[in-house]
């Protein structure tokens, strides 16, 4: 190794390594067209090629890969949800994440820091005890803890009772982690590209040709492509793209904002979330404090930033960590979240026979990227959703069989 390094350092040859192949022309036909080059679309493309040998696949993105919510989220992964189906699914996704750096040969900076969801009311203590029991039953590390244990794990938190909402307890999830989000998009894209998948950036889908209940061609800003099957994975724009395909969704598009502070010396190990105070925080490897809260108060297709968000967030954050008053905000941004009524995703088949959907990822779908990609690849290849994702079918709303994850997903993404 040192010798190779030395030879590389002294040598003149610098191989030009590209992550994606050079842009290509669109082919007239693909077996599978994936709309949306976020983590979910790219992961599905990778598993289609890798696990199912389907490589005549195109991923189309209207912008650049990972430029949607995949590159905008706050990178938290966890599996301490509330419903059995949710816990099982997210635990599988974390299992895949843990070995993904090796599989994709890219450093995803998977870092397990522990995750604390604070409770400030009796009602949230109750929900957390419920979550802890469901989690443990399904083998996920999760425990309701009291203030002493919180102080041991995170001594920086203000545990004083002389605040508006004193901390009464917390749901501790020691395996909660963060993952470098853009690397997930790049890693899946590169691996899929190497297996023959075509990735077309700057290619917006503007319509579908539909005959006899199936999509026969996809209209794009660069021309028309014939398709065997179509997977829609466009997050906040799901309703618009599905409208082109002629069906409606139980989804509202609402912005979610986040921000980071200037970098400061490392002081905070775990991820801290407070549902009652609508805020969460963790410290990145660069020392920046990554902060966010709940979604905006009304639906919107704009990623503008608001002062209301910052004021609301900081007012509460200063109660948890008063010394943050000295720290400046450096950047802020927003993404368009595809919110479902039950805070659970929609995965599986659609009213069109060769069209599949992964959506409703709202504010919580980054952690789901590997499991959704893998399960949706199987769903597309076999024309049948694997058992892991069957409960997340679109029809559950019409059948009044929702999944009720609000207690675990409304602020802690």
């Amino acid at each position: 190794m040192p010798l190779r390094l030395l030879r590389f350092g002294l040598g003149l040859a610098r191989p030009d390594t590209r992550i994606l192949p050079l842009p290509q022309e669109l082919k007239p036909h693909y077996d599978v067209v994936i709309v949306g080059g976020g983590g979910h679309g790219l992961a599905a493309a990778y598993y289609l090629a890798r696990q199912h040998g389907i490589t005549n696949v195109a991923v189309l993105d209207k912008g650049y890969i990972g430029g949607g919510n995949t590159g905008r989220n706050t990178a938290i992964v966890r599996s301490n949800y509330l419903t059995d189906d949710g816990v099982r699914f997210y635990a599988e996704s974390m299992r895949l994440y843990q070995t993904l750096s090796d599989e994709l040969d890219i450093n995803l900076m998977y870092s397990q820091r522990g995750h604390l969801t604070l409770a400030h009311t009796d009602a949230s203590i109750r929900t957390m005890r419920w979550r802890a029991e469901v989690n443990k039953h399904l083998g996920v590390a999760s425990e309701l803890i009291g203030p002493d244990e919180i102080a041991r794990i995170c001594p920086q938190l203000n545990l004083s009772r002389a605040v508006r909402y004193p901390i009464l307890g917390a749901l501790s999830h020691p395996v909660g982690a963060t993952v470098r989000h853009d690397a997930v998009a790049w890693g899946y894209a590169r691996a899929a590209g190497r297996l023959g998948v075509a990735i077309h950036q700057g290619t917006e889908v503007v319509g579908f040709a539909i005959e006899g209940g199936r999509i026969t061609a996809v209209e794009t800003t660069r021309g028309r492509i014939g398709c065997g099957k179509v997977l829609i994975a466009v997050a906040g724009r799901s309703s618009l793209v599905c409208d082109m395909a002629g069906f409606r969704l139980p989804i509202r598009t609402v912005p979610l904002q986040a921000c980071v502070s200037q970098p400061v010396k490392r002081f905070l190990d775990p991820i801290i979330v407070s549902g009652s105070l609508h805020c969460y925080i963790w410290q990145s490897q660069r020392g920046e404090l990554v902060m966010g809260g709940a979604t905006d108060p009304y639906p919107l297709y704009s990623t503008r930033s608001t002062l209301d968000f910052k004021e609301g967030l900081m007012a509460h954050m200063l109660e948890l960590l008063p010394f943050l008053g000295e720290v400046k905000i450096m950047r802020q941004w927003a993404g368009l979240s595809d919110m479902t009524p039950d805070f659970a995703p929609v995965m599986g088949k659609t009213p069109l026979s060769n069209c599949y959907l992964t959506a409703g990822w709202g504010t919580w779908g980054f952690k789901a990227t590997p499991a959704s990609g893998k399960a949706m690849a199987a769903c597309v290849a076999d024309d049948r959703p694997p058992e892991l994702i069957a409960p997340f079918r679109l029809d559950r709303f019409r059948e009044l069989d929702q999944l009720g994850e609000a207690g675990a997903a409304s602020v802690g993404h």
Partner: protein
């Protein structure tokens, strides 16, 4: 601060209001469970001009607002009777 022009209270901070979603016609009381599910859960979720129910919380005054969801502009607000008069179809 974003301002919402309330038909009763005049221009106020939008934080005093709550958005309760698209104006739609509820199904008949004896409609099928599927029709009710459609009404309760499914949405147009349009990128463009939408017509929604809003409420000014301190006065619990309900009214209608038209907004552009692409630009975050509030175009106009009016009371429920004005919606009926304009005949613009609920």
């Amino acid at each position: 601060m974003k301002i919402m022009p309330c038909p009763l209270n005049g221009p106020r901070n939008i934080q005093e209001f709550i958005c309760r979603g698209e104006v739609r016609i509820p199904p008949a009381a004896d409609a099928s469970a599927e029709a009710w599910a459609e009404y309760l859960f499914y949405r147009e979720n349009k990128a463009g001009i939408v017509r929604e129910w809003w409420c000014h919380l301190p006065t619990t005054f309900w009214f209608i607002a038209e907004r552009d969801t692409r630009t975050d502009e509030i175009i106009r607000t009016y009371t429920f009777d004005a919606l009926d008069e304009s005949g613009s179809g609920r």
